[in-house]
């Protein structure tokens, strides 16, 4: 009965999650072709001889064309800046929720999670209207006299940061809340009792003890943000370089499946370290629980 329970999820996820990566890896080593599907087979049976043609040309191409390197770097930069901004907004919110009276805590948490249940696509789309040159935000700022010309946010990297912070904020707040709510009041009082001012208590006790939450939350934002496609597509401009869009264009516009696969494989390699970091934190949390 126990073995039986393992079989369906193992088979399903193996076939539809693990095997696809092998297929991607295989195709990334194939030669592009104008065919259906648009690549040449990796191995061939001809006259009883197995011939395998590995084509590293796709990877070579990624390395030589500066567009790809620039896109990877730009994606990592945009994801990193967005992650820091999300942390800057999420930490005080998680802190406040963790310190709120018990009765109000669940309500506040629910308010953080609720937007996540509504369409992500529609919420990102809402920002298009808000950020327009003649949209309400510019209208408000012009009316209050804070600016005398509409500021251009839409179709810049700033709009992408904003979109990522907005979309991924709950992923930052929840793990932070989890660690901060576990922080015992006794420890904070002990620090104060031993002469630490509030700022010193925060730096020597609260911050180090919430590190697992900071790392987990940051990775939960950073990893998907690197490969984000919808947010730069809707809010970013023509100069916004993100590797998710590059993969999309290689696949849908250029129909170059082998290069798109190579882009994906390199992206996984780039993300391997942050994913491993996240796994380690989560494993440790599970052990403690």
């Amino acid at each position: 009965m126990r073995r039986l329970a393992s079989l369906p999820p193992l088979l399903w996820l193996g076939l539809f999650f693990l095997v696809p990566f092998l297929v991607v890896a295989k195709i990334s080593l194939s030669e592009p072709a104008i065919a259906q599907p648009p690549y040449l087979p990796l191995w061939d049976w001809a006259d009883g001889v197995l011939s395998v043609t590995l084509d590293f040309g796709n990877y070579l191409f990624l390395a030589t064309d500066p567009l790809y390197l620039a896109s990877y770097l730009s994606s990592v930069k945009i994801a990193a800046i967005s992650t820091l901004l999300t942390l800057a907004l999420g930490y005080p919110m998680a802190y406040a929720i963790a310190r709120a009276p018990a009765g109000r805590r669940n309500l506040l948490l629910m308010l953080v999670i609720l937007p996540f249940w509504t369409s992500f696509l529609l919420r990102v789309y809402a920002w298009i209207g808000l950020l327009k040159a003649n949209g309400p935000i510019n209208g408000f700022l012009l009316a209050t006299g804070l600016i005398d010309q509409p500021i251009v946010i839409l179709q810049t990297d700033w709009a992408v940061y904003l979109g990522i912070v907005y979309t991924y904020l709950p992923f930052m707040i929840l793990p932070l809340y989890a660690t901060l709510s576990r922080l015992e009041r006794d420890l904070l009082e002990a620090a104060a009792d031993l002469g630490a001012r509030p700022a010193a208590t925060f730096l020597t006790v609260t911050l180090p003890l919430s590190m697992p939450g900071i790392v987990a939350g940051s990775m939960l934002v950073f990893i998907p943000a690197v490969g984000e496609y919808v947010i730069p597509a809707l809010l970013g401009g023509p100069d916004t370089l993100m590797i998710g869009s590059v993969l999309w264009n290689e696949f849908f516009l250029n129909r170059d499946w082998p290069v798109a696969s190579a882009v994906a494989i390199v992206m996984i390699a780039v993300l391997a370290l942050p994913i491993a970091l996240l796994r380690r934190i989560q494993a440790r949390e599970e052990e403690e629980a």
Partner: protein, 362 residues
């Protein structure tokens, strides 16, 4: 005698409509080990937290060493606390925990290291300085918490159920050690505990709290032998309580009419109160004698043994008096075997001296 270190004057504390501490007056002397004793929710921890500065009195005033502490935050008080949970910082080594307060006080690394060594030696934890709290046993954590709280050399050390998390055997050893450390350092200790044995062992003086008030202050012997209220008599140790009325009150003796005891209780001194007033008479089990025949004791009660409970050091007899009242009598087991042990169901006569009875307001 020098001025008291701590003065608590008319201090009350309310949380919403709940009055946790009610009009407490208390003086704690320099260098003494004072125990605040009471059941859960009696306000002892709140009083302690007000001394530490974590709670502000709703009214009244606390002065420490002549300084009014109103509005002084915890980090600016020359008072340290040992938490019930120990509250050791899990991300710091033992040495860094102990040195934490010194660093906050601006001590240099060298000064801190020297003082940490001294403190760890005091609690015999030098060999574990590099460990983290989760690698320590309960007793070891307790020592680290004590060392950390003492490291800054506070005027006053507050200990919240300091031995509550230890098992019984370890607790008894640690009680004596805590007393030694207190004597060696000369720091004034205030210990909060719900355990009367612990309070008796540790305290130079006890303050017994009930429902937010301090109901009696005194040495352990005073509180045990001369309780001033039924609550104190009942809370500290075991006691038999009889309802009665003052029948006679003279300068040299008094008599209490006590139907529950079967006859009048004669007491060789005057009592406070008027004739006819309802009172309670408290009798400790070890102050009652038990035998098959009437002894020479001036007060006697007749009954039948209900249960006999052997406790090792003493045997407790639960005796049903002819009046229907159940009384506990304890007798030290001075011999290993007893040929003519009194057993359940036997008729017995109980006796006690008049001065053993404590007359309390009903």
């Amino acid at each position: 005698m020098s001025a008291p270190l701590v003065r608590v004057e008319g201090v009350s504390k309310s949380f919403g409509t709940f009055r946790a501490v009610e009009a407490v007056d208390l003086e704690i002397r320099r260098g003494e080990l004072f125990c605040l004793l009471g059941g859960s929710g009696c306000g002892k921890s709140t009083l302690l937290r007000m001394l530490a500065g974590f709670e502000r009195p709703s009214s009244g005033r606390i002065t420490i060493d002549g300084q009014d502490m109103t509005g002084v935050p915890p980090h600016a008080r020359d008072v340290n606390m040992m938490f019930q949970s120990y509250a050791l910082f899990p991300h710091m080594s033992v040495a860094r925990n102990v040195g934490y307060g010194l660093r906050r006080a601006g001590a240099s690394r060298a000064e801190t290291a020297a003082r940490v060594d001294e403190m760890l030696a005091l609690v015999q934890m030098t060999h574990l300085a590099g460990r983290r709290p989760d690698q320590l046993s309960g007793g070891q954590r307790q020592r680290v918490a004590l060392a950390r709280a003492l490291a800054r050399g506070p005027k006053l050390l507050l200990l919240d159920e300091p031995l509550g998390a230890l098992d019984r055997k370890l607790r008894e050893e640690t009680q004596l050690e805590l007393k030694k450390i207190q004597a060696r350092t000369g720091v004034t200790f205030v210990v909060v505990t719900h355990d009367q044995d612990e309070a008796m062992t540790l305290g130079d003086r006890l303050g017994v709290m009930d429902a937010g008030r301090i109901v009696q202050i005194g040495t352990p012997r005073e509180v045990y032998e001369f309780p001033q209220t039924r609550f104190v008599a009942d809370f500290i140790g075991t006691v038999n309580l009889f309802q009665g009325r003052i029948a006679e009150d003279a300068d040299s003796h008094a008599e209490i009419d006590c139907p529950e005891a079967g006859e009048r209780i004669r007491i060789p001194h005057a009592v406070t109160g008027t004739v006819g007033q309802a009172v309670s008479v408290a009798l400790r089990p070890e102050k009652i004698s038990i035998g098959r025949a009437a002894g020479t004791a001036p007060n006697r009660m007749q009954g039948r043994v209900g249960d006999v409970v052997y406790h090792g050091g003493a045997t407790v007899f639960h005796v049903d008096l002819d009046t229907g009242k159940r009384v506990r009598v304890s007798r030290a087991n001075s011999a290993r075997t007893e040929a003519e042990a009194i057993g359940a169901g036997e008729r017995v006569v109980l006796g006690f001296a008049g001065e053993a009875a404590v007359v309390l307001p009903a």
